[in-house]
Symmetry: C2
Subunit: 449 residues, 2 copies
């Protein structure tokens, strides 16, 4: 048997050992069990092969400036100076799982504390993203990741409900700990000035959206996926429009309705606990902020038909969504644990909404770095409130969401993800502004109606 065959056998043995320790999947999909699963594992001794594998891991992603410390406390260092982060594995299984499917398992390993990262988690994620994409030997590695890790979750009506429940019904109290306090937006803010506070930038985002839609008092607006109702309320309050806002999250709709009542706007804003596919009526404007990611590209033609059905002849529409420069599946771990069913489309893919329905794209703006900035604010607030998150959930949840927020900052910073705002109308609507200058005039908050 050659030395090479020996290696291969030992790797197979390691992998099989790793598989035995595989993380048990929770009965409630996407919920990460709180018991640290590595408590049962007695770390085995570190062999020469373990060290060889660790070096291969670094090499295959282009030798990033990252140090690996194995479970005996000894470091495997890359051939660079000034490493920016240190990953520590507490058992062999963790390392092997990272090889088998880093995109999926690393998140779980990090969440359960079987792997830790010392250093800047954002910078670490950026380097992994960049090196996976650039690395000479990253090609097959990345393809393998995607092939192994990615499972599509089709969004049937019922399934969609499950997926959103999972994410948005974790509890409003949780999101209140780190979202803005003004309009409670869980979508990209608009930092027209990068030094804005998060609250200012979220309000600026809402104005930006309303201005792009050219809202005027008395207009009827339909919103698909209204979150906690912040935008719907804002439109009614500051632009004097009547809003019908759809959402399939019970908790969010209940919250939104109670706020509307409290603010005396329940006659202007109607929250509907229903799927966007069931939108009825015709409107002066259609708006959807942060919903398309959950629609799934198979349903883009359906969404297009909804738009065609609900827009008046001179109606305006806006879709605000995370997207991509070119099609790629969602990060496997985020899709499984954080956002089941999520899919950020490329602009080309989005055209399947518009093209078949004679809809005309008027304006597309990419706010990629605004989402990175938004997420930086969120992560900062989150870190200040981890004690409260821990009390509401548990340590594993705390770690999972830290990685999700940090990883997302990285994804926007390196251009893996984009944020598109797409404005559209019917193709024969000639009631169009001659320029976009009206979006950039001094913002004057209109008095309440």
């Amino acid at each position: 048997m050659s030395a090479n065959a020996n290696f291969e056998n030992e790797i197979a043995e390691h992998a099989s050992h790793g598989a035995k320790e595989d993380i048990a999947v929770s009965a409630r999909p996407g919920v990460i069990l709180s018991e640290p699963r590595n408590t049962r594992v007695t770390p085995s001794v570190v062999t020469q092969l373990d060290r060889w594998i660790a070096r291969q891991m670094l090499e295959v992603v282009g030798n990033p400036p990252i140090v690996l410390i194995l479970w005996d406390g000894v470091a495997v260092t890359p051939p660079v100076t000034n490493p920016i982060a240190t990953i520590r594995y507490y058992n062999r299984s963790a390392m092997i799982k990272t090889i088998l499917n880093p995109e999926l398992y690393f998140g779980d390993l990090y969440s359960t504390g079987q792997a830790t990262v010392e250093g800047d988690l954002v910078r670490f994620s950026e380097i992994i993203y960049s090196n996976l994409e650039d690395g000479g030997r990253g090609g097959w590695f990345k393809r393998a990741i995607i092939w192994l890790g990615h499972r599509r979750i089709a969004n049937s009506h019922d399934k969609a409900k499950d997926n959103i429940y999972h994410h948005y019904d974790i509890g409003n109290d949780f999101y209140r700990l780190w979202l803005d306090t003004e309009v409670m937006q869980y979508t990209c803010a608009y930092f027209s000035d990068p030094d804005m506070t998060l609250e200012q930038a979220q309000v600026a985002k809402l104005h930006h959206v309303c201005r792009k839609l050219q809202l005027k008092p008395g207009d009827s607006v339909v919103e698909a996926g209204c979150g906690w109702g912040g935008l719907a309320l804002f439109m009614a309050k500051h632009y004097g429009v009547n809003v019908k806002a759809y959402n399939i999250s019970k908790e969010q709709v209940a919250h939104a309705h109670s706020v509307a009542e409290k603010e005396g706007l329940a006659d202007k804003v109607q929250y509907v606990l229903d799927d966007y596919r069931n939108i009825k009526g015709q409107f002066d404007a259609f708006v959807s902020v942060g919903m398309l990611e959950h629609v799934g590209k198979a349903d883009f033609p359906t969404l297009g038909k909804v738009l065609d059905r609900c827009l008046k002849p001179e109606g305006r529409g806006l879709i605000h969504t995370i997207g991509r420069n070119r099609p790629a599946p969602m990060n496997a771990w985020i899709e499984r644990r954080i956002f089941p069913g999520a899919y950020p489309p490329s602009l080309r893919e989005m055209m399947k909404i518009f093209e078949p329905n004679k809809l005309s794209i008027l304006d597309t703006e990419n706010l990629r770095l605004h989402y990175s900035r938004t997420l930086q604010h969120w992560l900062h607030r989150y870190e200040q409130n981890t004690d409260k998150v821990r009390a509401l959930m548990d340590e594993e949840f705390v770690r999972a969401w830290r990685l999700y927020l940090a990883g997302s900052i990285a994804a926007f910073n390196v251009g893996e993800l984009q944020l598109f705002q797409v404005v559209f109308s019917r193709s024969r609507n000639n009631q169009l502004p001659w320029s976009r200058a009206h979006l950039y005039r001094e913002q004057v908050t209109q008095s309440e109606p």
Copy 2:
């Protein structure tokens, strides 16, 4: 034989008669012969069948408010009041050709005077466009038009040269009669205020493009398809950049170079008589205004590779092009007689330039109505100069270009054509402005370098 079969036989006979009178195709493709071809035709008597066919023609396009007058001077009127235009046919052949392929033949019939239009030619074209798209029975009719009339002309290197020669080398004198006198732009202007003069709007367009590209003194810019060199000169003069501008039209390059010499800017602007595919070097900005229509979608991946090759890591790019809301072949007559090889792409089709090359769309603006306004200015000036056009060319040419300009206004007005300005960069370029407000600040013309 049934009455119906009789009709069919007679229609076939008419059609074959029509075919015998078919317009001879000029040896120089796209050039319309000056001799009115209908002088040889002795109009036959108008039969009941002719009248029946005329009524069918109106019905099949949804009975637009258009009157047909046949060659005996008798009108066939639609069942509407207030018709907006009258088409007059001077022989049966003309009417039959319109049925066989209205998109292609009507242009030739109008140019040669075998058909005339009384009334508003723009409004007439709008109605035809709208009714062909909407008309219940227009479906098969339109498909038949496209099938019958459309011939693709692949743009091989040499062919591309021929096509552009044909259009742009008609003679600078011709274009000078009706384009703006300031920067000689044969592309969509930017009417940030709709009451601007054509000259103001063309200058505003150039500023708009330069601002979108964030040009700063010392930047290197490559331009693909530079027309008469107006933009290249403008960028050098007002933004202090160094430009390398490519064009395959000899006349245009000669004109451009002589202007640059005259203005003392020949050291800042280099005009290159070559194809965009041969662009060499790396630049801070790539710009192309009104070239993509001539590239042909088969070459979009090639253009993408050129962009990927020539953009510096933090380079910005802008493509300004006529486009569509969804893919469709170019109007057959315009493609054959006016713009051989032209193809206005949909945004989805354009993504084949960007997606494979990790390019990121930052901003898309649709200036559809600006092109309608631009064309209205052009048509107005053109009509004031038809005597001079006739002296340079001939009556048939005068009529053909009138129909082209009027029909194009209509196409933009009814949303058949769009005008996209697409700004892009490499996906990891984080040197991006935080907002587009800089596009809308008071325009200050910078002093010459």
